[in-house]
């Protein structure tokens, strides 16, 4: 029986794979059906995991098993229920209170973490000795790293018109950004093709048995 359902599962996977691929020819009811099943299953999955992974272990269990130590968790429980009031238009304003806790927490943490990791550490990482490389290729690269970072940051300064020295630096900055976008495209193409490779490995391997998985 288990073998039957295992085989059925593979055939269901192949069926839904072709239903989605049919969109490449043109939009059709099979694709639309598969798409809506995907949306429904995804929402259901998130719902179940949120309850089992967060609300039960971090809220329900502490309150029911040891209320005297964890009584303060009543507050986030109330705030959570206030969040759900957003569903009813008349009580939507109640959700502002939990949202403000969330936004305040996020803003406070982001202010610190982005300042350290994405600004200070990145500036420090750019302050390297470019001539301390193993060979001339590395030295040229390190010079490009310093010049590219500075000129790239200058490009994003829009409070002054990009003319003169500022204009030349901004132009160099754009060139570095274009190289970086080209490289990003190359990696994106690799990523997308990899996803297709994965699907074909399933169809040719698990479903048809033509290739070894």
């Amino acid at each position: 029986m288990e073998q039957f359902f295992a085989t059925l599962g593979i055939w269901l996977g192949a069926l839904f794979t072709f239903a989605i691929f049919s969109f490449l020819y043109k939009d059709n009811p099979f694709y639309k059906t598969a798409e809506q099943i995907f949306v429904g299953l995804s929402a259901g999955y998130w719902f179940v995991y949120t309850v089992f992974s967060i609300l039960i272990p971090n809220l329900y269990d502490p309150l029911t098993q040891d209320f005297s130590t964890n009584w303060i968790k009543i507050i986030p429980a109330i705030l959570g229920i206030m969040m759900l009031m957003r569903l009813i238009p008349k009580t939507e304003w109640v959700s502002r209170f939990p949202i403000s806790v969330v936004i305040g927490t996020t803003s406070g943490v982001f202010f610190l973490r982005y300042l350290k990791s994405d600004v200070l550490n990145q500036l420090t990482a750019t302050m390297i000795n470019p001539f301390a490389g193993e060979n001339w290729v590395i030295v040229i690269g390190q010079i490009m790293l310093i010049v590219g970072t500075i000129c790239g940051v200058i490009y994003f300064y829009f409070s002054k018109k990009h003319t003169g020295v500022l204009g030349v630096s901004a132009k160099i900055g754009i060139y570095f950004l274009m190289v970086s976008f080209g490289a990003a495209f190359g990696y994106t193409a690799m990523a997308r093709i990899s996803l297709l490779i994965g699907r074909l490995q399933f169809l040719l391997g698990d479903w048809l048995g033509i290739i070894q998985p």
Partner: protein, 231 residues
Amino acid sequence: MKRKIPLLITFTVGIILIISEFIPHKPFGQLSGELEIWFLIISGFAILLGQLSLFKVNILKIKYKQRDWQFYTITLISFIIMVTLGFLWGTGKSAGMLGQGEVISNILGYKPFDYLFHNIYQHLQATMFSLLAFFIASAAYRAFIGRTVESNLLLVSAVLVMLGNTTLGSLLTGWLPESLNFLHLPKISEFIMTFPTTAGQRAIMIGAGLGIIGSSLRIILGIERSYLGGE
């Protein structure tokens, strides 16, 4: 009061978290730790809100018989089935309301929730994203034209990285002697990624980081209030 109290809450919470970074002792350390756990719990409710909103939107579309309403019925049915199976028999080794579901697991090979995930959802999502492979090829053919200096730089960089990222790149320039190793396609690709790409991405990161710092301060100080919505 409907706007003033939330603004005050945002300010207080934001300031506590910033101060706790510099004064990790009582009460700031404890308060920030507690706020972070509250955030986790409220996030859980926020996720539930998202799913219930989806449910509500689909119900309304079916009720008012909007275009393609029949397909939204399928969404709701799939959602209800997935949630029901998850709550009845659980997932993985965690039990549901009816226990671990050993009998049904022996028949299906998985719990029902996991069976749907592995044999339907996983394939649907993977295939949906694999469509992008086709579209990127089509887009590259139509739009990737070298018209200006900037677009030529983009094109050359993309071509070199795409070749260097594959085993084909290793084959094409594998015959080069050691002295010309820097012209080996994988090495060129690595150079492009390590230096000019990193420089460009670092500039973006610093700019975006400064923007986020500015936005965070504006939110904490109550200058930015769009998250409160209307009225």
